[in-house]
């Protein structure tokens, strides 16, 4: 089977610096201009039939890619199966909704609070469960995702089943306005966040935490014997993933100006997991591709939208059975070695 990832990596390897810079700049410019693609005849095939194209770019596409990147740290990098990722998204969104309506803090000030709260809940959930085998983590997180929703339904401060309305939009920065009629602002802010996450993940991957996660993913017992403090790094992976989910939640709440428990069902966790698995666990570019495809296609192709969950379930089973590494698989260890021998300045 063709390996797009290696193909891309080889090309990238051969390019010199100016070539790489030009490529990245052009790619970034194209992505930045995506919200306007629907207005021109040569690119209006991207338009979505039901919801507005610009809104689709923000949610689901941008939001899913961001969350998939966050979940990728947990599932892809360190091999921990988190089935309740929506819980952190919900915690972020409810933080934004409650603080945004009850206090005078604006969304930019709430963002770190939301991320912090998501992170703390990640640590609290991780401490008892990350000591155990992966399956327990899966089922506990599955339960946790549902519990957060049940608490939101039954609690007065979260507005019960009706949720919270009138969540404020963020104040504008650098002249970019954020409002319901100006979706590109939200798209750009998510894009910035995605870029930050990519940068962070790439940095972490080549340093101690990345190596520890890789070791844990491959064989936890051996990693532990080699002196890797596995629990600590697993909790780090879990809470960094949670913080990214929380950040996505804060932006989501202020973008839709409204949160309700229905938005945070188990389905969202499955969707995000499918994005990660479909694209290629552990590989940033694969995850971005998977997130884009799985978020965009159901909006573009009408008949999928009703059976979308079913399609995602099928995608999970088929990908796992046929191509367990996803569309763009992660780099294999041997290949890293080979690359190291071929070029000395890696």
């Amino acid at each position: 089977m063709i390996n797009l990832r290696d193909f891309g990596a080889e090309k990238w390897e051969k390019w010199n610096r100016p070539k790489r810079t030009t490529f990245v700049v052009i790619l970034l410019a194209l992505v930045t201009l995506l919200p306007f693609a629907g207005d021109y005849s040569f690119s209006n095939f991207l338009n979505t039939p039901i919801s507005s194209y610009q809104a689709v770019l923000v949610y689901p596409v941008g939001m899913f890619v961001l969350m998939a990147l966050g979940l990728n740290i947990v599932v892809g990098k360190s091999g921990l199966l988190d089935l309740g990722y929506v819980a952190f998204f919900a915690i972020g969104a409810y933080t934004a909704a409650i603080l945004g309506t009850k206090t005078h803090l604006n969304i930019w000030e709430i963002l770190p609070i939301g991320m912090g709260l998501a992170m703390i809940s990640g640590v609290l959930l991780g401490l008892p469960t990350l000591r155990l085998r992966g399956d327990y983590l899966a089922i506990v997180t599955l339960g946790f995702g549902e519990i957060v929703r049940i608490v939101a339904v039954n609690n007065r401060s979260t507005g019960g089943p009706n949720g919270i309305a009138n969540v404020p939009n963020p104040p504008s920065i650098l002249g970019v306005r954020f409002a319901l009629d100006n979706m590109q602002g939200f798209f750009w802010i998510i894009l910035v966040m995605i870029l930050l996450v990519i940068w962070m993940v790439r940095r972490l991957s080549v340093r101690r935490p990345g190596r520890a996660w890789e070791a844990i993913r491959q064989d936890e017992d051996v990693a532990m014997l080699m002196g890797v403090p596995t629990l600590r790094y697993k909790i780090w992976a879990f809470s960094i993933g949670a913080a990214i989910g929380g950040a996505a939640g804060v932006i989501f709440a202020s973008k839709s100006m409204y949160v309700a428990p229905d938005m945070f069902s188990f389905n969202v966790s499955v969707l995000i997991l499918s994005c990660v698995v479909f694209g290629g666990m552990g590989n940033i570019w694969g995850v971005i591709l998977g997130g884009t495809i799985l978020a965009y296609l159901p909006e573009r192709i009408r008949f999928i939208s009703n059976a979308r969950q079913l399609v995602f379930g099928l995608a999970l089973v088929i990908i796992m059975n046929v191509r367990p590494d996803g569309l763009l698989p992660r780099k294999k260890r041997e290949k890293i070695h080979k690359a190291g021998e071929a070029t000395t300045n890696v």
């Binding site: 091999g79 000591r131 399956d135 506990v140 549902e146 698995v277 089973v317 796992m320």
Partner: protein
């Protein structure tokens, strides 16, 4: 918080909790047996339960043509109809479980891929089942016709037993006893135990691994199907997502008793049924799932090997 309920309603709560507990016992067999041989959580078990409830409803509504206005049945016809529902539900769940094993686990096991892949594909199958049923039923809840007229048959002081409660308790206890005997006495049961001790060694001893694993899924599925039938006789309602909270509770029961341990599942199921019923009375039914979840986290935190189980951390494969 309403603690006075516990005193005034003690006996009804106890009896309902026991009945619910016996249903959990049967479902948690589906989790615990599969865990025993594969060392994997059978994520699709909640959907296997859901399929079983629909089998019961479909047989009584479409096959026998009963509806909500039908008078309750008596005598031989009652036994015959209930028997047919039970068999259909057990068969349906058992076959689904075997199919789940073939689709989600077998190929991956043959390839020797990591555990994460098996878990994800099991979740995929579980989503396919749930969403398939959701689309087929248009998310409409289905109610089961009341075939058994519910009357209180035992009046002993404060204890009042309804006939469906007795049916659940007696029937589930018999099934559990049979499975327990089966696993400890028959050849296939011994093979199942051998595989759960060491897959490699049992292969060397000439045990057909695929057959044993399929048999385990079949038995676990059939028990889950029987639980689905009992659930329908008591609660008379089902929906595409009925398995979610019940599956989580039954899994918690299995963990509480020590996953991989049959007798543990028995005590865990009963304990969890009682706990859930009392918690619902004290805190309100909407917090039932939260209580179950808290129990699960606390058990994993303080006694991860359960009350009767092997040490989870040491059975890492």
């Amino acid at each position: 918080m309403n603690f006075s309920v516990v005193v005034s309603q003690f006996w009804p709560l106890l009896i309902n909790g026991l009945a619910l507990g016996f249903i959990y016992v049967l479902i948690s067999l589906g989790y615990t047996m599969v865990y025993g041989v594969l060392r994997l959580i059978n994520f699709a078990n909640s959907e296997i339960f859901m399929v079983g409830t629909f089998a019961t409803v479909i047989v009584s509504r479409n096959f026998f043509g009963f509806n909500q206005n039908t008078d309750p049945l008596h005598g031989f016809k009652l036994i015959y109809t209930l028997g047919a529902c039970l068999v259909a539900s057990m068969l349906m769940s058992g076959v689904t479980a075997v199919l789940v094993e073939i689709v989600a686990y077998r190929r991956l096991r043959a390839k020797g891929t990591n555990r994460l892949a098996s878990l994800i594909s099991a979740i995929g199958v579980s989503i396919i089942l749930q969403e398939g049923v959701r689309i087929l039923t248009n998310s409409i809840p289905y109610s089961n016709p009341r075939l058994l007229k519910k009357v209180y048959v035992v009046h002993a002081g404060p204890i009042e037993l309804r006939n469906d409660t007795i049916l659940v308790i007696v029937f589930a206890a018999i099934l559990f006893f049979l499975v327990d005997r089966f696993v400890s006495k028959t050849l296939l049961g011994k093979a199942i135990r051998a595989v759960s001790m060491s897959e490699e060694t049992s292969k060397l001893m000439g045990i057909n691994l695929n057959r044993v694993i399929s048999a385990t899924f079949l038995i676990g599925g059939m028990m889950t199907g029987a639980a689905a039938f009992l659930y329908e006789t008591v609660y008379e309602n089902t929906k595409y997502n009925v398995g979610f909270s019940i599956g989580l509770a039954a899994f918690t029961a299995a963990v509480l008793g020590g996953i991989g341990n049959l007798r543990g599942a028995f005590y865990g199921g009963l304990a969890l049924g009682l706990l859930e019923e009392f918690a619902a009375a004290i805190l309100g039914t909407q917090w039932k799932a939260v209580t179950v979840f808290l129990v699960l986290v606390l058990v994993l935190l303080f006694k991860p090997n359960g009350l009767f189980g092997e040490a989870v951390q040491q059975t890492r494969v």
